[in-house]
């Protein structure tokens, strides 16, 4: 499925804004993403498996916090982050 990558994480994807990854859940997609682009998952998900504050994941148009949310190849995953600070 397609995974959209925000600019702060594109150093891991050779600046690609959209990449392909596989998995039956959001977390499996992120694990596959990390297999292809080592290091990217830990910047988004902490060592206890929680999505970091300010990181947002959308499956199609729906924001999800639960990483075990199921996905199919027909879905599109969008990773976003709330930009804040100065």
């Amino acid at each position: 499925m397609k995974v959209r990558i925000p600019t702060p994480l594109r150093s891991y994807t050779d600046q690609q804004a959209v990449v392909e990854a596989e998995g039956a859940t959001v977390d499996e997609v992120l694990v596959d993403l990390d297999r292809q682009h080592p290091g990217i998952r830990f910047r988004m998900v902490d060592e206890q498996g929680r999505l970091r504050p300010h990181m947002k994941v959308f499956v199609n148009a729906d924001m999800v916090r639960a990483l075990d949310t199921p996905v199919t190849d027909a879905d599109e995953v969008t990773i976003m982050q709330a930009l804040s600070g100065g």
Partner: protein, 377 residues
């Protein structure tokens, strides 16, 4: 690639290097590295003069460590960055790698990292893979020592000042802000507080066993039984094995006080140390007392202190954080500090006179001297 000395500058918005000539007279500022990233610390391995580690995060992305073997021209991320153990019973996750310390001289490739929250992490391969140090992170007293989960300090709690006894790689000290000074003699399997004599004026019991706020701890490499600390509540010296902190900051001028963040020790003289006092009165502005910045130096192990401000602005409201003062090992010693207002100041004569060597940088968190050439032979 530069072969002269360099200053590694970590800021709230990236890292810079200042490259100096052999005489340390002129310094050239590089282009930014990791622009926009929070860089808490950047340290060159003094054992191989080659491995450069940089602790970073952003406001949104998790913490990590980058490594360079060519003085910052190219970087590789640690393949396993510092992190608490998955499934940690306290459910801790690392917000920041706050501190980096190269390991013992005889343990090539060993590094320690201090975190926020106050975890301790170790690498044995030059910073590529890191493991949590269970003896510290899972110590039954850790929640009490680290004030978990309150984390009372404004920017979150932090583990810093990992000091290694040059006689024994298993003998380490560290500092918790807040929490105090702690020591292990068995390589980190067990730890004990080491705070007797130091004050915690912000607690009901002003001399508790732990709960203090050391800002910066230094061990003298030539006299490893001597420690100094700049604490939230004063400047202290300890001579082991007595193991009691003596408030040598009481010898500072009363109107200046003995509050600050950094303390640095002369590499060849255990009686000489430099501090940068800040205003710890009222609501704690943490700026230079009365807006008159100065470095203070002791030549007699804290029995007396002398003001060193030649070349510094007459009035300026400067703050120098705990990693933001550093020394070189030249004759005479060069002293450097960076300010939260983005200036770097240098003295090539042990603090007697000062020159501004960089300005208009972002808020400076860390300044570390590094020499990419082994000049010892």
């Amino acid at each position: 690639m530069a072969n002269g000395p360099v200053l590694l500058i970590g800021t709230r918005k990236g890292a810079w290097m200042l490259t100096g000539d052999a005489q340390r007279g002129t310094w050239r500022e590089t282009e930014p590295m990791f622009l926009g990233h929070i860089v808490h610390h950047a340290v060159l391995d003094p054992r191989d003069h080659r491995t450069l580690l940089l602790a970073t995060r952003t406001g949104h992305l998790g913490p990590t460590v980058f490594r360079s073997q060519d003085l910052g021209q190219t970087w590789t991320e640690a393949s396993r960055p510092p992190a608490f153990a998955a499934g940690d019973p306290l459910e801790r996750s690392l917000r920041a790698v706050f501190w980096l310390s190269p390991g013992h001289a005889e343990e090539a490739g060993v590094w320690y990292a201090g975190g926020s929250p106050q975890g301790l992490f170790r690498s044995e391969d030059g910073g590529d893979t890191w493991a949590p140090m269970a003896g510290w992170n899972d110590h039954p007293n850790w929640p009490a020592w680290a004030e978990w989960p309150e984390e009372g300090t404004p920017d979150g709690s932090m583990l810093h000042s990992v000091c290694i006894d040059p006689r024994d790689p298993a003998h380490l000290y560290l500092g918790l802000s807040a929490g105090g000074v702690f020591e292990t003699v068995d390589g980190g399997s067990d730890w004990a507080p080491l705070n007797a004599g130091s004050v915690a004026a912000f607690l009901p019991d002003e001399e508790p066993e732990y709960g203090h706020d050391p800002h910066c701890i230094r061990l003298h490499p030539l006299q490893p039984d001597r420690l100094y600390q700049q604490n939230h509540c004063g400047i202290y010296r300890m001579d082991r094995p007595e193991g009691r902190w003596v408030r040598v900051g009481d010898n500072m001028p009363t109107e200046v006080g003995d509050i600050g963040f950094p303390i640095e020790l002369h590499p060849r003289d255990p009686d000489t140390a430099w501090v940068f006092p800040m205003d710890g009165t009222d609501v704690w502005p943490r700026t230079s007392p009365d807006g008159r910045p100065a470095v203070y130096v002791t030549r007699d192990a804290g029995e007396s202190w002398a003001r060193r401000d030649a070349g510094l602005p007459e009035r300026a409201w400067l703050t120098v954080k705990r990693q933001a003062m550093t020394l070189d090992d030249s004759h005479p010693v060069g002293v450097y500090f960076g300010t939260t207002s983005g200036e770097v100041w240098a003295s090539a004569d042990e603090g007697d006179s000062w020159n501004q060597i960089a300005s208009h940088l972002p808020e400076i968190y860390a300044v570390e001297f590094a020499d990419p050439v082994d000049r010892s032979s």
